[in-house]
Symmetry: C2
């Protein structure tokens, strides 16, 4: 059972999490729990750090922020214990979560949960700090944002758990964001690959690395609400297609910028150079559209997040000579809307249906990107809600039970 | 260098501590630092714990409160680093501070500061969490209130440090509490034994266990102000008697209760039984006065702290039959005033001078207790300030330079 920051944000929610844990134990389950830091603790700690050193070492930031989960873990263990079930908390290193020697974004290398197994075998509950581990030198490391999901999955795999329940502040995985589309429906099941696309597309319920990890070890995940009773959404390999839905979710993301870089004819370099340069500056490029038609000016367009825009423009400016382009232009205030579904691969015409639907709603398409189970379009940000609504309707997502 | 909670209570004070550390490094010193939790952090964490479990296990409380020092240590390391001196923070276990397997009040068994030595040798600063260690099972332990002083001394000894500077919110060790007696003077030097008496007497500048530890290893301590420049007070074995002062400090403590237990004649049991019983209930008895005069009713009087009063009365009531006493009475609202000085042992008449001084000031003496370097009296709490003032004057303490 993994509880995210909002599910343990205060005393009352910690009590609620403890009740959910005790219920599982009373049902005869052995329970290991992974927790995030309470509410905004991590941000508060980072603000403290900024106050004393704007460029603090990642090692020291790891020392600082890893305290957040330790506070939650001990409080939750106390709360479980108060309900009559023995419980102990463990730091990442006490739980045997070993990572590579990278601070701030370490990958898990191995989990040796000896202490955890010991308490589980004695009938008690283990409450483990998510998000953190230890490297071979005995240094504390953290796994990066969303790392608690990954901790939970890694520990579940090491414990040979039958299931990993991710408790969160939503009722499960929805066909689209219910805050935007009132017809949005909760899915009973979703495949790892579909969930991966939704996670990467900003649905934000679950960290992609955690889903990949679960997929590789065929561990069943459940996204469940912590604040109300509810079965949530099961994430596993083979799913039954509810109502034969081909498309199972519409994801969207605002604050997208398109940049187009144009070259003179003839151009002798590689259009990829621009992406190498952007990657060196840790700018994440999403959709890429490249056109090289004979006799025409070659150009490459790509989308990035708004927050990276200033830096990207700077990188392009600084390296204009080296990159050898003639000019670059950009369009801000865009959005990305995507439809996701494993059934797409065996159902041709889904893309055409998507484009038709958007055209009929007068939504212009700026860029397109496709994978086997996903089609993404970049559109004006002002059209996002309309586009999601018509796609959600067209692909019958409101009919999911 | 050890910084207490008030000396690292906020960003500004952490900056100040960092400056003091960097100054020492620039003077060519290798510096290891031990820190407490910021301000009231430990109390805040304990309040959180109480919210979820009023009877939380000590193990879990240790997991919880040990985060406090980790936050300070990482922030202080960042602050030092921002001033151009490399610095890393270490938890108690990373610094190799091994304790017995007791939660909440563990004693240090061994210190193996490999990681600390490594960074010191490379010219960097080690910032270590005080108050905490690890037992042989890999469980986190804490040393009890004031344990950061003990951590600092233990680590200084393990590092073969030339000196251990305890930075605090006072300017040093005073002849008495300057908040009460404006004539109070800071001492340049004080012996371990004198400091031990003052620490035990509630002067509260330094934890007694830390002083004993330093005495046993002949480690020079300095109590220094963190908030202003100042040499503080040196604590070591052999001290020069400033101005040939026989008495070097007047300590006092309010909120004292006297309990007297009276027995019938003849009484066949041991008067010590009452103390065994109180000790079983963790009630700390301070001064004991016992009178067994032939033909008279035997009685025993003792002083305890006000906070233990209700429990002590309860213990006496519950065990009246077993203890075999006739009746008990008590007097609340008392205070203990003590004069301390190594020179006393070779200067007879100090006690008489003390009693005379108090009698001339019309301060009644309820109980007396003496050691080689200390005389304590129990008096009415309303007379505390007057008693301290006349003793401070009589023993020329205001003349210390």
């Amino acid at each position: 059972m993994k509880f995210g920051g909002t599910s343990v944000a205060n005393e009352e929610r910690i009590e609620r999490a403890a009740s959910l844990i005790v219920d599982e134990v009373r049902r005869g389950k052995q329970v290991a729990v992974v927790v995030s830091a309470m509410g905004k603790t991590t941000d508060d700690l980072l603000a403290l750090a900024k106050g004393v050193n704007a460029n603090a070492e990642r090692r020291e930031l790891d020392m600082l922020i890893s305290t957040g989960e330790q506070v939650t873990a001990s409080l939750l263990a106390m709360a479980v214990s108060a309900k009559g079930i023995p419980a102990n908390s463990f730091t990442g290193w006490q739980a045997g979560l070993q990572t590579e020697s990278v601070h701030g974004n370490a990958r898990i290398e191995n989990v040796e949960p000896k202490k955890v197994n010991k308490i589980l075998e004695s009938g008690g509950v283990a409450v483990i700090t998510g998000f953190q581990g230890i490297d071979q030198e005995g240094e504390l490391t953290t796994l990066g944002r969303g790392g608690s999901d990954t901790s939970a999955v890694a520990i579940a795999i090491a414990l040979e758990a039958s299931c990993c329940d991710i408790y969160t502040d939503v009722e499960g995985v929805f066909t689209t964001d219910p805050r935007v589309i009132s017809d949005a429906r909760k899915l009973l099941e979703i495949s790892y690959d579909e969930m991966l696309e939704l996670a990467n597309l900003g649905a934000g319920v679950l960290h992609p690395r955690a889903i990949e990890f679960a997929k590789n070890h065929n561990l069943t995940l459940r996204v469940r609400p912590a604040h109300v009773d509810g079965a949530g959404t099961v994430i596993k390999e083979e799913i039954e297609l509810e109502n034969n839905l081909i498309v199972r979710g519409v994801a969207f993301e605002n604050e997208i910028v398109r940049i187009t870089v144009m070259y003179d004819v003839p151009y002798n370099g590689s259009l990829a150079n621009v992406f190498t340069k952007l990657a060196e500056h840790h700018i994440n490029v999403d959709i890429i559209v490249q056109t090289i038609m004979e006799g025409e000016q070659p150009s490459v367009s790509f989308s990035i997040k708004n927050e990276d825009f200033a830096e990207a423009v700077n990188v392009l400016e600084m390296n204009k000579h080296e990159l050898g382009y003639r000019r670059a232009d950009f369009e801000v205030g865009l959005a990305k809307v995507s439809i996701v579904g494993s059934g797409m691969v065996s159902n041709p015409g889904v893309a055409a249906k998507m484009f038709d639907t958007l055209r009929n709603a007068s939504v212009p398409i700026k860029m397109v990107s496709t994978s086997e189970i996903k089609i993404s379009v970049v559109i004006p940000g002002s059209d996002t809600e309309k586009a999601v609504a018509v796609l959600h309707k067209e692909f019958s997502l409101a009919n999911v039970y």
